[in-house]
Symmetry: C2
């Protein structure tokens, strides 16, 4: 999915919501556990219920890997289902990978070529050669196939308490680590293939981030269960192209633990979408 397609989808659906598919078999409703592939069955029901209200889905790999081979098969099926039935949804694999060059290339192959997702979250600690293999199309697409955009979503300022440990450290010139990550990585990718993870729990810092990355889309976790404010995020972080994808996982997918889980998820997603519609109109 290109940047322009993403922007068009946001305008058309009046939403910049991403639904996080953190599917945990210890949390899904009883009725789902009877299904042959309960992870996929849960995801499909959630997708069918929430697709009108969002522009992206973000499965977190940790939850699929925890179920071993079966979990990964369910992840694969979910991606395939989205591509077939909801090609207008961006698929973000939240895997937070990053390793030396040849290893990052292997991960890139896995997620973009084998599974076929649109975007991958990447940790920046190991620097440029750990990040760029996710951007460049490697290997070149076969003759006749057009190259598809591979998005890297680099961790910048995360929403958890531990983000205070290193991400806010100032260097001698007063630049904080998360700013340095964004500034340097502006040389590695462009607003057409690079986004940043910025937690909603730090509303006031979006101004500083927009100074370094005026155009990049930001993937914003931390609204909902983690307590960030959507209004604050928009006030300080929204651009003329929206420039935001706001994620909500638990607050939507676990809105109910009963047989009405999909309907309740739809209601929660719709609530967020309506708020987003207003905020988009205001901007």
């Amino acid at each position: 999915m290109t940047r322009q397609e993403l922007i068009d989808n946001i305008r058309r659906k009046r939403s910049f919501l991403c639904v996080g598919l953190d599917t945990d078999l210890r949390k899904v409703p009883q009725c789902v556990l009877k299904e042959e592939d309960p992870i996929f069955a849960f995801n499909r029901a959630i997708i069918e219920a929430t697709a009108p209200y969002c522009v992206a889905y973000k499965p977190n790999l940790a939850f699929y890997e925890a179920e071993g081979v079966k979990g990964l098969a369910a992840f694969e099926k979910t991606v395939k289902y989205l591509k077939e039935h909801h090609p207008d949804q961006m698929i973000i694999a939240d895997a937070k990978r990053g390793d030396i060059g040849n290893t990052s290339e292997m991960y890139a192959r896995t997620f973009f070529d084998t599974y076929g997702v649109d975007a991958l979250t990447v940790a920046p600690y190991m620097g440029e050669d750990s990040v760029t293999p996710f951007i460049s199309p490697l290997p070149a697409p076969p003759l006749g196939e057009c190259s598809k955009t591979r998005w890297v979503i680099l961790l910048a300022l995360t929403s958890n308490k531990g983000s205070l440990d290193f991400q806010l450290t100032e260097d001698k010139e007063g630049e904080r680590l998360f700013e340095k990550v964004i500034r340097k990585s502006q040389q590695w990718g462009t607003p057409d293939n690079m986004m940043y993870v910025v937690g909603a729990t730090r509303g006031e810092l979006f101004t500083d981030i927009r100074r370094v990355a005026p155009e990049n889309f930001l993937l914003v976790p931390g609204v909902g269960a983690q307590g960030g404010s959507l209004e604050e995020v928009c006030k300080y972080g929204m651009t003329k192209d929206c420039g935001l994808i706001v994620n909500s996982s638990r607050a939507i997918i676990y809105a109910s633990n009963g047989e009405d889980f999909a309907q309740r998820a739809a209601e929660e997603a719709k609530k967020v979408q309506q708020q987003m519609e207003q905020l988009l109109a205001k901007a």
Copy 2:
């Protein structure tokens, strides 16, 4: 595996070599590709050939994930094989994970409980609550089973060029990021459950690292294909308990591309072990 068991193994085998199982189907010899499970067949042959000369194996998850469900099954079989036939080998899953608390817990479950490895590499960018779930035994072991040591191997100073981008950044007090990662994380774990990744390509910096982490074991990649010097690493990094696990992947497992691959891997591993024996005797 406890710290004392690791030290005993190093003394007994006069080796602190870790063999990296970066098994890539595009690089293994032709003769292996005929096997039903070529990844596992290659690993088993390499393990049988090199086990006398090393104390640890480090499969890098990127290579297994790239083959999808089959690759992960091969990883699982490799871990099981090592536990059954070579229980004195430490098994290090090189996966460089790290996410918000509840997600890191899922990863910890996967690697320590489902697969049963001894150690996992973790990226520090997201701070304390992204790292500690890998250390604490969660959930508590069932009655009658004793708690097994879970090792975290935290990325500190990596061996790649990109390590210069952020890891060496000095803060206002002149502390570099990798030093801060080590210093802070000394509060999260102990030398009994925490190691650090320190690339061999930065020999002279081992002195600085030993100032902050005098006792922790260091996992050292970058000897071999990446050009680091074993002598330098030992000169500046070795402790009275050795304190080093030096990894070599490509230089050993791809020593030959012919039918003699296992024998040539054994020869390469033995060469490194003999060097290590001398360096241990000298210290």
